[in-house]
Symmetry: C2
Subunit: 470 residues, 2 copies
């Protein structure tokens, strides 16, 4: 089914069919993604204020055969929110649906509209004496709808799960313009197909999420942070296992970092405080949040002693104050910024079975060596088997020097990931940037089922055309 | 699309198309469900030994337009596994696919075929020093495929989630006979639509699960059990909140029981040991599993003291031994058996928002009073807002005396549940018994989407015909 391009005539008809103050000329901020690699195109943005207005937009777009790009905070990294080519679409931004509709502290539940910024959800939870544990670099600007549409991850997935795991219910507009009122606060509800999880992670291709029931959790009584030097990625995984044996669910985050990341920080962000003269080759940043009666510093010290005894870790720092913990995390959280300043050839957001992570880190540089001389910044959410495995020019060279090999680099990494049972997209999604990867690496039976579902729910193909499935 | 009835001619053609030892004449055990309310019909059962054989059965059934009833342990309570009427179907039992294919203790992962009995998964996890936390009354006979197909719950959902939350990947045969190889061990994988969660809970209507990657968890270092007398359901909920504030994720189970349950135990199972002369009106059974360094008995004692201070609980027992804990749980787990012996008029498996549970328990007897004089046994997984709200004849009366009002009783309960934002099926599913409830109470937009998905993935309608959707 071919869509129409949003020309002057269709713009007039859209304006005639919808209330005046919903449509605006698009601003540049809607047309670029953070890495700027895929500039989008669009002439109009719709800014509805209610689910009924969203439904009206979707219905009219269907009648006029105009594509819709659902837009959250615009922080996605795979160009799910920008459309570089094809019939000119309508951007549909949820930013005016930005209310926390209700908080139920005794139920550990919060209901937020799709346009609420993630940090505002966290703040509303905190005000109610609860924690909304989803935490990621873009939390100050990403919005609930995008977080769920892309099934966002971040640093606390190990303990609390990803966006999917923190969602109890949805309100959404389906591609035919009908409204699904699914804002349940229920923990159990076995009454048919899991439409919630189908929309979560569908990146706006099966409908528009307009509000969500989110799970809150109790605030851990005591928290602690440690930065430990580990002998190797394999040692880091053994340390994770040890930590979970000792502390159970108390391990909230477990991040692996290679020395390259700290070298990039020194090079690109020299004012950022680093707690060492010489960074260790491999280190892990561990957050624990414990129940009453346990002392996190003592628990982390005990963990370090056991790790040292097993020759997993030989040095490290246990944060002695909240400020020191913030410093440790500042380093971790500024690595992506340093990466952007250095300029990667290829960024990979991959997942591996935990037991394969060390072998992957061991094998990948050899597989890449034939393609050139690179710097590799490998860091990520080790507890989830999720590595940001980013490839950079050697010192003195530039991205342009590697222009010809970027796609081969990506291919070599993804082929190895596939061979080892991994995923070419752990937490960033498919968007438009990885449509080819999904076709190449996806299971054929699953892909056929996905296409059948897309055709069944969105027969006109108006929802985020070209994203996820070509 | 009308299906064919499995007559002699089709039986011959099935036998010709499949290896000899896959098809057998059906035994009575495949044709009844535990409550015996819906006797099924079938002439043949297929017993494949591999995913390829399952695929062959599904393909041939599709060619011959014969309905397939996927069959696990046969323990479902809503007749998803028995078909009382319509064209004679083929039962497809996964019982010969009963291998634990692999265990990855360091990854907290286990891969099991659909025919593995739940207790055998638990045992394999234990052997690897891990816990598979899904636990329910039928764990000695239910099988992995059925557990996932129905998204089973049980007593540890509060802490560890239901079957859905404990599944990382699936191998399945889709309705067109293609095999989806999705046995990933990944914690994060954002590469398109969530087919896993669509099949989980679809009750065999969208495909046949043949194997699953399951999540294991660390074994809590120390466990404890308490049986506390609470002032009311509202007090029980405040106690739950207090427990989670004090112990975080350490609260593994939180079961509410009304005195009626203990009276039924005395009446129907007089030999079962009960730890009191006079049962309290309301009590809760709490399991905790704590990290190293915490003493569960001390933690439970501290919890009780705080509860007493807030007038939430006035008496109780903290198990002093594993044997005593088993005794407490024995009572809870024998309530369903006592119910069966007493003979319910109607059994309801309902969920409510946590904040509405107490009001529901308060209002429901009044709503039912107009229909007759009942005994109500209300018990269940309070931490999940999941009540088994079962209605019995008064002492001296029998089920037959209430034959005329059973459907009205169910309607009154479900109407009130719906009004309060609840679910008519918390953990048992829809099967065939609750198809009418789903039509009555389901969101219309969601139902339309479900029908579109069913038609797209199973256009011939061969997969568990008549279950979930009429």
């Amino acid at each position: 089914m071919t869509l129409n391009s949003l020309d002057d005539d269709l713009t007039k008809r859209l304006r005639a069919a919808l209330p005046d103050d919903i449509l605006r000329d698009v601003e540049p901020r809607y047309l670029s993604e953070p890495r700027d690699s895929w500039p989008g195109q669009a002439g109009l943005v719709a800014l509805p204020r209610s689910v009924d207005e969203v439904a009206a937009v979707v219905r009219v777009a269907g009648e006029l055969r105009i594509g819709i790009i659902p837009y959250g905070g615009g922080t996605g990294l795979v160009s799910g929110q920008v459309m570089p080519e094809g019939p000119l679409p309508l951007v549909l931004s949820l930013e005016r649906m930005n209310k926390v509709r209700a908080v139920f502290p005794e139920e550990n539940v919060l209901i937020a509209e799709a346009g609420v910024i993630l940090a505002d959800v966290q703040a509303a939870a905190e005000e109610a004496g609860r924690l909304f544990p989803l935490s990621l670099a873009s939390e100050g600007s990403c919005r609930v709808g995008g977080v769920l549409g892309t099934n966002a991850g971040g640093v606390n997935v190990l303990r609390y799960g990803n966006a999917r795991d923190l969602c109890l219910g949805l309100e959404a507009v389906l591609p035919d313009g009908t409204i699904w009122n699914g804002l349940t606060r229920l923990r159990k509800d076995n009454t048919g197909y899991d439409l919630r999880n189908l929309l979560v992670g569908a990146e706006g291709t099966l409908g528009v999420i307009t509000a969500a029931t989110l799970k809150l959790v109790p605030v851990p009584a005591e928290t602690g942070t440690a930065l430990l030097h580990v002998a190797s990625p394999a040692a880091a995984l053994s340390l994770l296992s040890l930590a979970r044996d000792q502390l159970g669910e108390g391990v909230s985050a477990f991040e692996l970092m290679h020395r390259t990341g700290f070298e990039f920080l020194s090079e690109a962000l020299p004012d950022l405080r680093q707690p060492w003269a010489q960074a260790p080759e491999w280190s892990v940043l561990i957050d624990v949040g414990l129940a009453r009666g346990l002392d996190p510093q003592a628990a982390l010290a005990e963990l370090f002693e056991a790790a040292a005894e097993h020759e997993l870790a030989d040095d490290g720092l246990i944060a002695q104050s909240r400020g020191q913990a913030v410093d440790f995390w500042n380093m971790r959280e500024h690595i992506p910024e340093a990466n952007r300043k250095i300029g990667s050839i290829v960024s990979n957001d991959i997942a591996l079975p935990l037991g394969e992570v060390a072998e992957f880190i061991d094998r990948a540089p050899g597989a890449l060596a034939a393609l050139g001389d690179f710097r590799i910044n490998c860091f990520g959410h080790l507890g989830d088997g999720n590595l940001h495995y980013n490839i950079f020019p050697q010192r003195g060279a530039t991205r342009a020097d590697y222009a010809g090999v970027a796609s081969d680099v990506k291919r070599v990494v993804h082929d190895l990931v596939q061979e080892m049972g991994g995923s070419f997209s752990a937490e960033h999604g498919v968007g438009r940037a990885k449509v080819g990867d999904l076709e190449r690496y996806g299971d054929p039976a699953r892909l056929a089922a996905m296409r059948a579902i897309k055709a069944a729910l969105d027969p006109l193909g108006i929802m985020n055309p070209g994203a996820v499935l070509a």
